[in-house]
Amino acid sequence: MLKVSNFHLNLPEFSLKNINLEIKKGEFFALIGPTGSGKSLLLEAIMGIIPSNSDKNRGKIYLHDRDITSLPPEARGLGIVYQDSALFPHLTALQNITFGLKYHKVNMDKARKQLDFLVQKLGIGHLLDRYPPTLSGGEKQRVALARVLILNPQAILLDEPLSALDPAFQEEIRELLKSLHQELKITFVMVSHNFPEVLYLAGSGAIIHQGKIVQQGKIQHIFHHPNSCFVANFVGIKNVFPARINANKAFTNGVEIKLSPESGRQNHNYLSIRPEEIILLSPDRARDNSVDNVFTGYITGISCQGFYFNVFVDVQGVKFQAIWSQKDMADQGLNQGSKVTIGFRSKAVHTFRDKG
């Protein structure tokens, strides 16, 4: 539906290189990357907002097979919502929402119905006569969403829509985006650097690093099967170890780890295990048959993260990091220095090749 093909963009101080994306209709797609990776630049390029000091050679962007590469933003049929809402400060919430109507051939009756629907859905009936500076962050984002939604764009681009909000509003707007996506089947393209948020909202996505797409696919797949150390660290896989891999076994620092039978691992040189996959075994359940990697080690560090603990376990010099609940820890009376038995399924061990 939205397709970016061999897209390049060179700015004096930064460039996007050979971007290829394909986003399906009705999908919630995430462009994920650290600050300065170029993700917002790519989003604006899709919108048609290209810095004037960029060059000309820049591949193609298609929307429903229509080449929109050289169309101005107003002719693309896309909508955008920024983290700071970017509401027009001199117009009321209602005037903001209806701003775009006169540039679109819309039936006024239909538009009025759509407006009523959105006002109700977004819960902004009481805000319509107010000016943006008097609105809270969450209220601003609701109005900004209404302003875009009323035009029925073919896709809505979201530029870190939650990052400028207080935690309570973040949750509120996140739920709202989820329900808009599920109920109205809108195609969303969201830029974010917050992985939990992406995991909650998006179905698929792409990781951007230094202007290049380094991995794309289903979010759950990226989350569990990173293809490089950068992605592994970025998605919060704390256990990333260089390893020598030999058929269904991996050796890291002398520790032998069983792998699930799988082909194509010849060149792999890293393994990764998500910390929540590493479970605490009680001594009597140490031979749980679903867990085929079992090790004994010592706790070298515990840090409380609210309702769970990050626990560091040293197994023959390999430092595993696990996430265990308060209850897990209390049941066995664990402390710094305690001897523990840990385990993880061979299926939870992911391997990849990193050239770095």
């Binding site: 604006e44 907002i49 101005p72 933003p73 107003e74 027009f88």
Partner: protein, 265 residues
């Protein structure tokens, strides 16, 4: 003035700063204060009934307004362009815009007169069009536009720059073309600066003397009349006219402060 130091016991540093800056403030308010309070009301009343004074004041006002209008019509696009686009030669254009502030005032008059000299292409073109510079309102307006222009363009440009680019992008994304975006988003958010710029341009134009006196001693604008009275009759006779011109300037000035203040609040 006491509240400079409230809330702190030991703000001696700022107290010293303040004491040190008193001479400059006095340098400005003493002469002006003395002059405005100098002439008696009878003199002032008699002066404002003098037809020569009235026509000079009005001439100053309407030639200055014409300069403001020209600056507004042609300067607004340039100010917006400079605020929004980066291009080769932009620094040079910005430099050219600032030039009139730097050029000595009689030199401005001489340069503009020189342009209309009969032995040049431009001069001959102006002549065939029937346009006279020397001693005409056209010449005065050209000079006043020259000196007032940078004030309008720089202030309007600052206003355009203060409108977040993102708002224009959003407007475009909602379907508005560039000029629709300019009209519905940029203009309403920048108009206060544009008005401020026009007032500054007007004030600068009304106060100009050195360039005007070269291009047109007659017909007389108010500053030229003041100068003439000073040289012909001395300080005492020039003061009442000066006070009236100051009143006009102060009125503009209060307007300007009003707009400048509203903007920041």
């Amino acid at each position: 003035m006491n509240s400079v130091f409230s809330g702190r016991k030991k703000d001696t540093f700022f107290l010293l700063l303040f004491l040190f800056s008193i001479p400059l403030i006095l340098l400005i308010i003493l002469p002006l204060g003395k002059m405005v309070t100098g002439p008696d009301l009878v003199d002032l009343a008699r002066t404002i009934k003098d037809p020569q004074v009235i026509s000079a004041l009005f001439r100053s006002i309407y030639t200055s307004l014409a300069a403001v209008l020209i600056s507004f019509v042609f300067g607004t696009p340039l100010a917006y362009l400079l605020a929004r686009k980066s291009f080769k030669g932009k620094k040079i254009i910005e430099g050219i815009i600032d030039l009139p502030i730097m050029i000595p005032h009689p030199v401005i008059g001489i340069a503009i007169l020189g342009l209309a000299a009969r032995n040049t292409i431009i001069g001959q073109f102006l002549q065939t069009m029937g346009i006279q510079i020397m001693g005409t309102h056209t010449g005065i307006i050209a000079v006043l536009t020259f000196v007032g222009l940078p004030f309008y363009i720089n202030t309007a440009k600052a206003g355009f720059e203060a409108v977040p680019l993102r708002l224009e992008h959003v407007s475009r994304s909602l379907g508005a073309r560039p000029w629709q975006t300019f009209y519905r988003v940029t203009l309403p958010l920048a108009w206060r600066n544009m008005v401020l710029g026009m007032i500054m341009c007007l004030a600068r134009a009304i106060s100009e003397f050195g360039a005007v006196v070269i291009v047109a001693y007659h017909p007389m604008t108010a500053p030229v009349l003041i100068y003439e009275r000073f040289t012909a009759y001395g300080l005492k006779y020039s003061q009442p006219v000066a006070v009236w011109l100051i009143f006009v300037s102060l009125f503009l000035f209060v307007l300007m402060r009003f707009f400048a203040r509203e903007k920041t609040s």
